[in-house]
Amino acid sequence: MSRPEEATESKENAEFRREVRAWIAANRPSDPGFKLPQSFLEVESDRQFEFLRDWQRKVYEAGYLGLDWPAEYGGHADPHKRQRIVSQELNRAGAPFLVNVIGLQWAGPTILAYGTEEQKQRFLKPILSGEEIWCQGFSEPGAGSDLASLQTSATPSGDGWVVAGHKVWTTLAHVAKWMILLARTDPAAHKYAGISYFLFPMEAPGVTVQPLVKMTGEGGFNQVIFDAAPMPKDALLGQLGQGWQIAMTTLTFERGAAEGSGGGSTAPTGESVRAVTSLARRMRRDGRSAAEDPVLRDRIAQGWIDEEALRLTAQRARVPGLNMDDRPLATRLMNKLVYSEFGQRITELACEVLGPDAGLWLGDASAPDKAEWPRMYMNSFGMTVGGGTSEIQRNIIGERVLGLPKTK
């Protein structure tokens, strides 16, 4: 089981890949000696955050971030393939993740698509460098799957706006300088038409960030309460009342249809099954290696099939002639759904491979792989719930890709 793309990629790309790999090997930070978060959903402490931000800055300064963003905004305007190579190599090296994920994958591409020239000049480069962290203010206590029922309001006031309301599940809000914010600007308009999209400064007065504790017992996401929080006129992105449309674009980025993500791929790379395989070889079950149990073997093999099918589907999505004429978006829109559910299955399978040791938790000295597997299994629900639940994904795919009647 070894690396996919290399054998067939162009000489130039292969050279670039070698260069990146060497750079990572030489520059990746050593173990900081404290627990690192598994993903951006669980950055708890300042030291975790600073450690991760330092790493992103280093990657950016080496010229390995924003490869596919325009040069005038801090990018390199390279063919996108190169950014993918960097992402792949970062994943494979097990390097720390790039902490400004929301900026890189959602805020950035959305600003690129809808922002004014000033907004692009102002916001894009600090996203890449990690200097300015972003968070996302979409969901509310009463508006989760039914996002369009959101009640947070932005009311014109003087030359700008005043925001009042309550957002939840705002990952990274405690370290973010900016928020992509959905707020209702016209309470009288139709549910969808009354929403606008803002770039909100988190340092504004009237903003309270309260941490929420996740099911793992860890922090990393928050609720944000706006009590007459002001923002300037140019915080508006796109047109007034265009918020829902822009948000759908952002969620499409989030849902895996994105190109131009600046860095930080979520595509499967074969690493999950590789890690479960290694685990199975180390664990014992009923007096023999878990890797010898025929039923576990069958299920690990299925995991290998699933992961490779996902990887090849992402690859195939970029070859138009190999996609269905009548549903060109299928291979892109399904990624978030299938990948997040695969991630849940494979981490649950890892817990089964662990046997009784699945009952050991973070901090136990003898827990295999430091109890990362049950932790990852729990965290996998952040993926099947966040950014539109799997149930909502299935609605979207059914309606937008297959033309089935709307459920709502």
Binding site: G144, V213, K214, D286, W361, G363
Partner: protein
């Protein structure tokens, strides 16, 4: 093998009374807010609760009356475990239960007289050390050893996932003798050479420990009299039946949490239970709970009837209940959405218990392997 279960499962008014009592007591004593306070306080073991449980007679429920037990049957235990599973009763109950069963299975009359009354009275926390790191659940994978020396024995080995190990003053454990046979020993704690190390359990309501036996010298009276392999197997059958019932109870609680949330929570101007993507998985969850409950009741009734089919039903119950519980908590978190992903939502406590208990006493793959042998290689 006859899969005979009495038509009425042996159910009587007495069983109904026990269920009522357990539900009432636990409902008042252990609402989720109380449980959360206990966990927040970081107490591993609540002496007050333990005493109350002992006074209710639960610690000796299936132990003989002559040793201070209530002398009730396995269907009683099924019902009690369901109710305890529903409330995630914290502490070393499961360890005490298994140790008592093992002592009754393997101990001589005098050994039982020595230990069981204190266990039933809750004066002594006992536990059964069953799992060896990397080992299996069958006696033939045992690696811990007992070597005869000077009329006594020297015990060596390491056991893990011992429920309530750090609170126990008596541990029953299995060791392999030079003959290759398995023997059970009851070792008082603390004892020189026995090291006990707290584990960090994924389930904070079920603290566990690692126990090391580093050349522990015990007298001949520590060795339980009966054939260890058979007693261990019998204990596991009974343990599977009991743990399956606990899993059913836990899954039932998740079902009720999810059902209520699906009725209360509105999205798109409707309770989310309107949507089939929410409604149908809840129905499947209910069907799973009911099916697993039937097997747990069947196992208990078969044990009460002294039927040899009890092994089959206990394995079936543990296999199905473990999978049903795992599936219930998976759906439970998912249907609660973002809220389900938080510490505030109660589901994750059940999630932890489900994850902990699924492999314990053998997971579904393990039991199906044994069942396949009974089904396909017999006749």
């Amino acid at each position: 093998m006859r899969l005979d279960v009495p038509t009425d499962f042996g159910f009587t008014e007495e069983h109904a009374l026990l269920r009522g009592e357990a539900r009432r007591f636990l409902g008042e004593r252990l609402p989720m807010a109380t449980l959360r306070r206990m966990l927040d306080a970081g107490h591993r073991f609540d002496h007050g609760l333990w005493k109350e449980i002992a006074e209710l007679g639960w610690l000796g429920l299936v132990l003989p009356e002559r040793f201070g037990g209530a002398g009730l049957g396995w269907l009683h235990l099924e019902i009690l475990m369901e109710e305890m599973g529903r409330r995630l009763v914290p502490g070393p109950f499961l360890g005490s239960l298994l140790a008592g069963i093992a002592l009754e299975q393997a101990g001589s009359e005098s050994q039982q007289a020595q230990w069981l009354p204190a266990i039933a009275a809750g004066e002594r926390v006992a536990t059964l050390a069953l799992v060896e790191s990397g080992g299996g659940f069958d006696a033939d994978t045992l690696t811990a050893s007992a070597d005869p020396v000077d009329g006594g024995y020297v015990l060596r080995g390491r056991k893990t996932h011992v429920v309530g190990g750090a609170d126990a003053s008596l541990v029953v454990a299995a060791f392999r003798e030079p003959s290759g046979h398995t023997a059970l020993f009851a070792i008082e704690l603390p004892t020189s050479g026995v090291s006990i190390e707290d584990e960090v359990s994924i389930d904070p309501t079920r603290p566990t420990a690692r126990i090391g036996f580093d050349g522990v010298r015990v007298g001949p009276e520590a060795r339980l009299d009966g054939p260890g392999g058979a007693a261990l197997a019998a204990t596991q059958v009974r343990g599977c039946a009991a743990l399956a019932a606990e899993q059913v109870g836990g899954a039932e609680s998740v079902l009720l949490l999810v059902r209520d949330y699906a009725i209360d929570r509105k999205q798109f101007d409707r309770p989310i239970g309107f949507f089939q993507a929410v409604k149908h998985p809840i129905v499947d969850m209910m069907c799973g709970v009911e099916l697993a409950r039937s097997l747990a009741c069947g196992a208990a009734a078969a044990l009460d009837a002294g039927s040899p089919a009890a092994e089959v039903h206990a394995r079936m119950a543990k296999a199905l209940a473990g999978d049903v519980y795992a599936s219930a908590v998976r759906k439970g978190v998912q249907i609660h959405g973002g809220y389900g992903f938080t510490w505030d939502c109660d589901v994750h406590f059940y999630f932890r218990r489900a994850l902990w208990s699924r492999p314990m006493l053998g997971d579904a793959i393990h039991h199906r392997r044994h069942l396949a042998t009974l089904l396909l290689d017999a006749d």
